[in-house]
Subunit: 342 residues, 2 copies
């Protein structure tokens, strides 16, 4: 096989087949005779969760992950928020001609490893090849004279309901609000990479199956979950409490933030509350279950920094109680934020 | 809303929400209170078909369809080939900043209309915005001084098995091979558009639910189905009969081809057998059911040009019996074919 992706590899003919066999089918092998068919048959359930996400992150490789890990985590976490157990993923690749096959191999391997970590199978896929980028492309990594070919990945996923579906409508006045990890970590990682900063901030991209499934199996009463991605905690809270008579009251002093991310945000004047994660979940539970839930989450690999950050209170809009005793109404992200964070 | 897509509309914040509400949620409304959630809950079945396809067609609008119709048809037809009834689609948009919102609206409407025609709901989606194209982009529509912003669409789909799953392994020596429509029509449409030809060739992009469901409900014995897309009939047949002791014997004289497509192919020296469709299915049935199946297909809206084109015979590789009595071994497409046909 050539070392650069070619338009012929998107033709649907011999070269496409070879690409699928030599990279995707190899990494995503699931023991079936027909590996990665156009449409896969999977074991379902009467009720299913179904989600999709496209990934256009720039750069493709960053501290703590790459576009492949991100693509698998994002879709798995979306399924988990509904209370479903992820069972199968699809992957659709759009690749610019000229893309390094070696990089594609690393990305496919990363997807396979992440899916394995989450006990989910990648069962079907699709590959399209488009023309290479032209000179003068505007993104950071592409600003050189010789622009880099890029890749976009869509992952869609199906989940089965082994437990009751979780819905944001279940959230009740008085619920405790738990966050499973430190805020803004993925955002700070991507922004650092774009700015060429070398630091010790690494993306939190992670599949949160262990956290969610431990909570479900424990019998702790769960009301709802929502992952914190683009737009950050403030945007997510504003969406959740858009049409409710009550809203979140969170406390600045309780928000978990890595010190290096806090410094990074301070230097650049970024608001941690608008910075996204890729492995961080908001969990809403009755107050009576809050401590038990927190203990379970903190015992999980990706939940060690979990914290109870506030509760659902008698306020009309989500508010932040600041360290100095003030109250700030939270607003959703306006404007670009950080394009191509995921 | 601005008339051009902006990077802010991919931020995950306020502008993303407005875009989703003003275009996607409106066109894909399915009666649920939470329209187009990150993950949708759908009614499933114990066994499911699951598929994904990304669409990068160039140009976006062409005789007989557009990227939206194509995206819905492609995924629905992939589900149908497994014998499943399509129940839900997801859509993931990757849009270059600067893309006309009016065009996006037309595309979303086309997706909604096509999904409605096929009685399938679009239940979940995702939107990403990337940088605009730079000068000097190499595709036909982008060759002007001011390159056009583009859009890529992924559709994934779930199907439920109301009937027995169909598998290519069910194909048996002696089976009749039916094609549901004229060969090469979509390919000729796209190539005409790229070359600036004004002719009466229109894409066959269509959801084939009526054909497949009529066959299933009739009780006709079905062995397998496969849609003919990138790579054309020859490539599809080579893939199906790659590891079998028998293969397809098809007859040139029986292949349905529109006269204008035949002329177009002849002028350009294209091989109809390597030209793709977007609404054309190969159907394998026992000889005893062939005429009954053909009659049912021909009674359907998109099956009027259906024909029995050959059978599964005692040959090692798929072969074409030519009009002049010769035999030609079919080869899969090698090389680029027509990039971005779908």
């Amino acid at each position: 096989m050539s070392e650069k992706i070619t338009l012929a590899q998107g033709s649907g003919g011999v070269e496409t087949k070879r690409l699928i066999e030599s990279i995707f089918a190899k990494h995503f092998y699931n023991g079936k005779t027909q590996n990665m068919p156009d449409a896969a048959i999977v074991q379902g359930g009467n009720k299913l969760a179904f989600t999709t996400d496209s990934f256009v992150v720039e750069p493709l490789f960053f501290n703590g992950g790459d576009i492949g890990r991100l693509a698998v985590c994002g879709t798995i976490n979306d399924l988990l928020t509904t209370g479903a157990t992820p069972i199968a993923l699809s992957c659709g690749f759009i690749i610019q001609a000229g893309f390094d096959v070696a990089k594609l191999e690393v990305i496919a391997d990363s997807m396979a490893q992440t899916a394995k970590e989450a006990s989910v199978q990648i069962v079907t896929g699709d590959t399209k090849v488009i023309e290479p980028p032209q000179n003068g492309s505007s993104t950071a990594a592409n600003s050189a004279q010789n622009p880099q070919s890029n890749i976009f990945i869509n992952t869609s996923g199906i989940g089965r309901f082994d437990f009751e579906p979780l819905q944001l409508e279940n959230i009740t006045l008085g619920d405790a609000i738990i966050v499973t990890g430190c805020l803004g970590t993925h955002h700070a990682t991507i922004q650092s990479a774009r700015m060429g900063f070398s630091n010790n901030i690494a993306s939190d991209a992670a599949p949160l199956c262990e956290i969610v499934q431990s909570l479900q199996c424990s019998g702790v009463h769960l009301h709802a979950m929502r992952d914190i991605t683009r737009g950050g905690l403030a945007t997510v809270l504003c969406e959740i409490f858009e049409n409710t008579p009550y809203a979140a009251e969170i406390e600045e002093a309780k928000l978990p933030v890595l010190p290096q991310v806090a410094s990074f945000a301070q230097i650049l004047g970024l608001d941690i509350l608008h910075m996204g994660n890729e492995g961080n979940m908001l969990v809403f539970v009755p107050q009576s279950s809050a401590e038990a839930a927190l203990k379970i989450i903190k015992a999980c690999k990706y939940g060690q920094n979990a914290a109870i950050i506030g509760q659902v209170g008698n306020v009309k809009k989500p508010v932040l109680k600041t360290r100095i005793g003030g109250t700030r109404i939270l607003r959703p992200l306006m404007g670009e934020g950080l394009p191509r964070i995921c």
